[in-house]
């Protein structure tokens, strides 16, 4: 594309062109209106003057007859001014007046409306002047012409015309200048966006758009795009972590599985040995499937596609159901499980996902408390759901060994299992799912010390 073509295609050029056309039309219309109004006003004034003079002369005629009119005209003609007077006799000869040349045909007219004519005032004048005149018939075929020079009006017209042209020229100039600056500024910023996005497309995700202190639309756009890039980088890191962890946490059981089958095949061909090995293999593959499902689920939830429809929920009901569901498990582990939840606690979300998140928390808590300090005589887990201002707060508190503060944030990540829990069954995905579910519901997860023990607190925005 040529440089000109590129410029013409820019938004700045198009906008400037539109503004230019709009303002030109407006300016021309405005100046035109002023011209017309001024013209009309001045012409009207001339007419009024002519009419007034005719009135005075007619009065004179009534009082003193023809001679009076002629005398009055002769007297007026001597006063220098813009007024024109001519009186002719029946042969068309000038009897009195201050005009030397008027179109002869004019005097034969007897129109009552003023007309515009060229005339000469002094003998031997080279150019014609322009006047507005009115011709009146007098007795004995005499005729009287009264008029006023209107070159003044013509001059005003000229001035306005010139002003109009200057205004349009100035507008073109201003439009060009503003287009130049606007387009330069806009193009520069857009070019910088283009350059940054090229850099990002080339694989360098660290690039960010420039945000100026001006705080204009471009800055807002840049800020949003930067936030979007941050989010993408975060997701990519998550993806990378997952693939690293999949490599580790799925490959390990797969290797174990394969080794077992291989060892069994290499060993003695006994039905009972085979059966035991196959059963263990199924168990192992079930665990793998479970881990795989959990990973897919987390990925789906994190990608923002909720599993199942989102709808109005009562957190008190959900918590009560989950506690009821887990109560026998807690009892079997010798853990007292209590709930305090008074509904309704309105919330918008997925029952399935929130139930699963709470289940995971309870599962973890039971494992922790049961494997905890044997000196703790009354292992307890307390589930609490309540509304605090605009938030639905659910907490699961245990009096187990707790999690050291430095490791708390860490455990929300995928496949992270604290050394203590390595011996326990589990995929290390439970809390990652909790984190993903809470984020999907625009909530937060917090972990704190229950002294002793751990409190996991989930906060969700309440439905209003």
């Amino acid at each position: 594309m040529t440089g000109f073509g590129k410029v013409v295609r820019t938004t700045a050029f198009k906008l400037s062109a539109i503004y230019f056309v709009v303002f030109s039309v407006f300016a021309i219309a405005f100046v035109g209106w002023i011209t017309r109004e001024t013209d009309h006003f001045l012409t009207q004034q001339v007419r009024d003057t002519i009419e007034a003079e005719i009135g005075v002369l007619a009065d004179e005629g009534l009082r003193s007859g023809m001679t009076g009119i002629v005398a009055a005209i002769e007297q007026r003609s001597r006063i220098p001014g813009a007024s024109l007077y001519v009186v002719t006799d029946s042969q068309g000869r000038v009897v009195a007046g201050n005009v030397t040349e008027v179109p002869a045909a004019l005097l034969k007219l007897s129109g009552l409306d003023p007309v515009t004519i060229p005339y000469k005032r002094l003998e031997g004048e080279k150019t014609h002047h322009i006047a507005m005149v009115q011709v009146l018939p007098l007795p004995n075929n005499f005729r009287m012409l009264v008029g006023r020079d209107i070159s003044e009006i013509e001059r005003i017209r000229e001035v306005i015309g010139k002003a109009m042209i200057s205004a349009v020229v100035l507008l073109i100039f201003l439009a060009l200048v503003s287009w130049f600056f606007v387009s330069r500024r806009v193009l520069k910023r857009i070019d910088s966006v283009t350059a940054t996005s090229r850099q990002i497309m080339a694989g360098d995700l660290s690039g960010r758009l420039e945000v100026t202190p001006a705080g204009d639309e471009f800055d807002r756009l840049a800020e949003n795009l930067n936030a979007m890039l941050d989010r993408i980088v975060h997701l990519l890191h998550g993806l990378k972590d997952v693939s690293d962890n999949i490599a580790h946490d799925l490959k390990t059981p797969l290797t174990r599985l394969r080794t077992r089958v291989e060892a069994t095949l290499a060993g003695p061909a006994e039905v009972e040995t085979y059966r035991t090995a196959l059963e263990a293999t199924i168990e192992e593959s079930d665990q793998l499937i479970r881990t795989f499902n959990a990973l897919l689920m987390i990925a789906r939830v994190e990608a923002g596609s909720p599993d199942g429809a989102l709808g109005p929920l009562d957190m008190a009901q959900i918590a009560a159901d989950v506690v009821e569901f887990y109560e026998p498990v807690a009892e079997e582990a010798g853990v007292a499980l209590t709930i305090s939840a008074e509904g309704p606690l309105p919330l918008h979300g997925s029952r399935e996902l929130i139930s699963q998140a709470l289940t995971n928390l309870l599962d973890n808590a039971i494992k922790y408390v049961a494997s905890g300090d044997p000196a703790e005589p009354n292992p307890t887990i307390a589930v609490e759901a309540r509304q605090v201002d605009n938030e639905i707060v659910v907490s699961v508190a245990d009096n187990g060994p707790g999690i050291p503060e430095s490791e708390r944030h860490h455990v929300l990540q995928r496949f992270v299992r604290l050394e203590k829990s390595r011996s326990q069954p589990g995929s290390g995905l439970g809390l990652s799912l909790v984190d993903a579910v809470v984020k999907l519901h625009h909530g937060t997860v917090a972990m704190s010390d229950a002294g002793p023990g751990l409190v996991v607190t989930l906060r969700f925005p309440a439905e209003t």
Binding site: I282, D286, I289, R290, N293, M297, R300, S305, D307, G308, A309, D321, E324, F325, Y326, P328, V329, E332, E352, S355, Q356, T359, N360, D363, I366, P425, G426, S427, G430
Partner: protein
């Protein structure tokens, strides 16, 4: 029981056909959606098992067409897509049950048998009886012989589901879905604990156990005399 299996993976299909035959059923196999549709139209089956993604005609379309023709044979949809959304789409298309791949054969078999039974009349009976165990669905009372057995509401629903399918294997997942309406897999065997609690209430102190564990599959309520 006549079962139609519409599954495009040859190996899976031949394994399933063999296993269903061993379980005492009469399976037919179709390798794609069109063949499946033809068999559905020309035969009478007790249960149709359809893979969701099939060559020539996909599973959901096959189910929708079957239903449009007024054929109400129970349909079990198999799919690699196991999320709740996919399940809802499958059931909306006219499926009666939905099973996500990979699944255990025992799970598939249990669901097929429950589906086939669902068609039989007399389903709305208010009094469920297995041996000397009675469950009254109206008064919510459970009796074994002359002894009243007090149950928690959820225990009642658990026993109700088991007794409704007396003589059939009921898997943990089926219980989770039908009694608790949860479609996820809890990390601990919560169901087992609920069952052992229920068992201690209905079987403890009686010589003949009614609630049996079917190894590698699930549970079954059955009159021991049979």
């Amino acid at each position: 029981m006549r079962i139609l299996l519409v599954e495009d993976d040859r190996e899976t299909a031949s394994y399933l056909v063999k296993a269903l035959r061993e379980a005492g059923h009469v399976p037919d196999h179709a390798a794609d959606g069109e063949e499946g549709a033809f068999l559905v139209d020309t035969n009478k089956y007790d249960v149709i098992v359809v893979d969701r993604m099939l060559p020539k005609k996909d599973g959901l379309t096959l189910v929708e067409e079957t239903r449009r023709k007024g054929n109400d044979t129970p349909v079990l949809i198999l799919s690699a897509l196991g999320q709740v959304d996919d399940r809802v789409t499958g059931l909306r298309a006219g499926g009666d049950d939905y099973l996500a791949k990979p699944y255990a054969f025992s799970e598939l078999l249990a669901r097929i048998e429950v589906l086939a039974r669902r068609r039989k009349p007399g389903e709305a009976e208010t009094l469920l009886k297995v041996g000397e165990l009675e469950l009254d669905r109206l008064s919510h009372l459970v009796k074994r012989g002359d002894i009243n057995i007090p149950l928690q509401p959820r225990e009642f629903r658990l026993l109700e589901y088991l007794m409704k399918h007396a003589g059939q294997v009921v898997t943990r997942t089926m219980l989770l879905e039908n009694v608790w309406d949860y479609h996820f897999d809890p990390q601990t065997n919560v169901i087992d604990v609920h069952i052992s609690r229920l068992r201690s209430k209905i079987d403890k102190g009686f010589s003949e156990p009614l609630l049996h564990t079917v190894r590698g599959a699930g549970y079954m309520v059955r009159d021991g005399v049979r």
